[in-house]
């Protein structure tokens, strides 16, 4: 097979080989959506705390990614690049709400004095309400803790990548993560 033939075959691959989710998008972008849409949607859902807003955010994030797809240089992983767009998008949304509704996060000191053990496991029952409990607990946390927990929960991200996404050092992430886990354990226990 000559180079020309290979090029032509690669560009004119049958449509049946495309993931069915985004028929109008180039194959590589459709694959990007298929691979990462759950992670983006989940981050938006649990950070924003609203299904409809999470749907809107996921749509907007991937549309922004589509517009910048050709500029993606591969300096970071696709996941990290998409998370960067998602985090910025969600922060802008929340800032916009906060300025309109004077949203404030709970005081950090509440978690420092709470009698919770972070080394004991979180025991949960598999119910339909589990998602609501998790959302309720996350909503009680300072938004920085919420974001850190959600990002660190993604095993595809290293501490360095989480640090870059949240504009701090990896050591700062580790330190705050300890407090975030404790805070989550305290508020999650209250939702039982």
């Amino acid at each position: 097979m000559g180079v020309e033939s290979f090029v032509e075959d690669a560009l004119t691959e049958p449509a049946a080989a495309h993931p069915p989710v985004l028929p109008s998008a180039p194959r590589d972008f459709a694959e990007l959506y298929a691979t990462h849409s759950r992670a983006v949607y989940y981050l938006a859902l649990r950070y924003l705390g609203d299904h409809e807003k999470a749907e809107d955010a996921t749509h907007d994030v991937f549309l922004k990614a589509y517009r910048k797809w050709d500029e993606f240089r591969g300096d970071s992983s696709h996941r990290t690049w998409l998370y960067r767009i998602t985090v910025n998008h969600c922060l802008n949304l929340r800032q916009s709400w906060a300025s309109r509704n004077l949203i404030s996060n709970a005081d950090d000191a509440v978690w420092e004095t709470a009698p919770a053990r972070t080394d004991s496991p979180l025991r949960v029952l598999e119910t339909k309400e589990l998602g609501q409990r998790i959302q309720g607990a996350l909503e009680e946390l300072p938004k920085e803790y919420r974001l850190l927990l959600l990002l660190v929960a993604d095993e595809q991200l290293s501490y360095d990548e989480v640090a870059a996404l949240t504009d701090q050092t990896a050591d700062a992430v580790r330190g705050k993560l300890h407090r975030a886990r404790k805070a989550f354990a305290v508020v999650f226990a209250k939702t039982a």
Binding site: S24, T58, D70, L122, G131, D154, F188
Partner: protein, 73 residues
Amino acid sequence: MKQEKKLTQREQEQLSEKQSQQTEARDFASAEELLRHDAGRTQVPPAIAKRLDESIQREPKPPKSWWKRITRG
């Protein structure tokens, strides 16, 4: 025979309902582990892809060099 079959179906429905109501206690070592579990059972609404596809149709086609399409596979 028909009555017997009907009863069996009902029993199966009751069993299925009972199973769906049963809850299983699970321990998670950390908040992250619980969140990973939660993420794993979260489904992306199909409406997002449909809407995104419609938005992409309205977008101007981005200029794209042929070699990038090949190297990105």
